[in-house]
């Protein structure tokens, strides 16, 4: 009798949890304060196996009991070490369906806070451009979610990745997705027809054409791709394609030549913060779009420096380490 009651209770809790998750389906804007403010997107989806939860397009472990939730999301620290944030919190159903709580980093016990608010479907608005020109310095690159929803070939590529494959170490541009999160300032120039972004990193330049043109029929692919944009209300929406193969970050998550990147760039009400919700659509490598939510602050006092890059020390280091032959072989295989 006691066992039957336990089983019924368990099934009831499963059913309740499932119903709760069903109500939570959709996208949520995640704001995490853990050393700095980090933005991300939490997605709850129904699938054949029940419900799945993702942060920035990467699966996370998630449980919900009543109004209390727990979640584990991996990330990399400043040096590239794989770590985990454990989230706990509650769902506030009386306050417009928002979540909030605390988090702890498993490796060192550092703590933070977080909240999530539902992302509402935006009604298309007539263009009302805002002035985003100026010098901007990075606040954070986002949640830095590491494990993503890979295709089989991408999974194999990630597992085989070596720092020898990192083009940035030999002064080759790390490309759009990765460079957009780098810790160097950038300068934006703007007119009605074009937004130009000058990155300190690798001297990269992006021209975002706002004149209504489409992508060219034939054009060489490049690290930063070809970008066209338009204003939806005060949001600058940028679409980029014609990208060369590259990586999402230093862990070797691939970006294919057929990838498409959408950035939704917004200015804070006080004009001091710039945010870019970057979505990578790359079905060759990922089963769902990957998100990186960048954030900068206005720093007119910051001086943009020249990016004096020299690949000699990298190759000299490989020579000393006895890895030059391995490097050449890997490069031949990548061609």
């Amino acid at each position: 009798m006691k066992t039957t009651a336990k089983v019924l209770g368990f099934l009831l809790s499963l059913s309740l949890a499932s119903n709760c998750l069903a109500q939570l389906q959709g996208d949520w804007k995640l704001t995490v304060t853990h050393d700095v403010e980090r933005l991300g997107v939490l997605t709850v989806e129904e699938s054949d196996d029940g419900h799945q939860v993702f942060v920035d397009g990467g699966p996370v472990a998630f449980t919900l009991e009543g109004n209390r939730l727990e979640m584990d999301a991996d990330y990399r620290d400043g040096g590239g070490r794989l770590l985990n944030r454990h989230f706990t919190g509650t769902l506030d159903r009386d306050n417009g369906d928002s979540w909030s709580g605390t988090l702890v980093a498993d490796h060192n016990g550092s703590t933070g806070t977080w909240r999530a608010e539902r992302i509402l479907t935006e009604v298309p608005l007539p263009p009302t451009p805002v002035d985003i020109s100026g010098i901007w310095s990075r606040i954070s690159a986002g949640m830095e979610k590491v494990h993503l929803d890979y295709t089989a070939s991408a999974q194999a590529g990630v597992e085989d990745y070596s720092f020898l494959d990192d083009p940035a170490l030999r002064c080759i541009s790390p490309a759009l997705v990765r460079i957009s999160g780098w810790p160097y300032p950038l300068e934006i120039l703007q007119n009605v027809q074009q937004v130009t972004i000058l990155y300190e990193s690798y001297h990269e330049v992006r021209r975002i054409f706002l004149d209504g043109r489409d992508f060219p029929e034939s054009f060489p692919s490049s690290a930063m791709g070809y970008s066209i944009g338009h204003w939806e209300g005060s949001t600058l929406v940028v679409e980029t394609s014609l990208l060369k193969p590259s990586f999402v970050d230093q862990a070797g998550q691939p970006v294919s030549e057929n990838a498409r990147v959408i950035e939704r760039i917004t200015l804070s009400d006080d004009g001091q913060n710039l945010r870019s919700l970057l979505t990578l659509h790359d079905p060759e490598n990922y089963l769902r779009p990957i998100i990186r939510f960048r954030q900068w602050r206005r720093t007119p006092e910051a001086a943009i420096m020249e990016y004096d890059c020299d690949s000699y020390p990298f190759f000299r280091g490989l020579e000393l380490e006895g890895k030059l032959d391995e490097y050449w072989e890997r490069m031949r295989q990548l061609q």
Binding site: H34, D35, V36, R76, D77, G78, G79, G80, R81, L82, L83, A105, N108, S110, R138, S140, A141, E144, S162, F163, D166, A168, L169, C171, P174, R178, G181, W182, P183, Y184, E200, D249, Q250, A251, M305, Y307, D308, C309, D310, Y312, P313, R316, G317, L320, E321
Partner: protein, 131 residues
């Protein structure tokens, strides 16, 4: 006093430095657990992007000379942390302390660099202690 100024300046900017290390994979080349100290003469100095690298001639236990590959942040980041182009010079003797390279490689990520005159420079550990 000079040491104090360096340390205070660098500690004040440590948040920037932590963010700054987030774009290259320290973890792919260096150990988080193994630390070492190497003393030798600077034979090559590359104060550049994407990483500043200092090749140092070190005499090992058998009296043989080894070249160690010492790395730290890019020149742009070091400049913002207070380094100048004359902070280190080729030919100087230095003591390096930091994270050792993986696979017994002769690499070290600089946590402290002690000059011949005793000045200690601490470029924050290169991501090893961030977050």
């Amino acid at each position: 006093m000079r040491i104090l100024i360096y340390c205070l300046t660098l500690l004040g900017l440590i948040t920037f430095a932590g963010a700054a290390a987030a774009h290259h994979s320290f973890a792919a080349e260096f150990s988080y657990e193994l630390f070492g100290t190497k003393e030798g003469k600077v034979v090559e100095l590359h104060y550049v992007n994407p990483h500043t690298r200092i090749f140092v001639a070190v005499t090992n236990e058998n009296g043989e000379q080894e070249i160690w590959d010492a790395q730290t942040h890019s020149v742009n980041i070091l400049f913002r942390l207070g380094w100048g182009k004359d902070t280190i010079k080729v030919g100087e003797r230095v003591v390096l302390e930091g994270n050792l390279g993986l696979e017994d490689s002769r690499k070290i990520w600089i946590r402290t660099l002690t000059m011949e005159n005793g000045t200690v420079i601490t470029p924050d550990g290169g991501g090893a202690n961030q977050q």
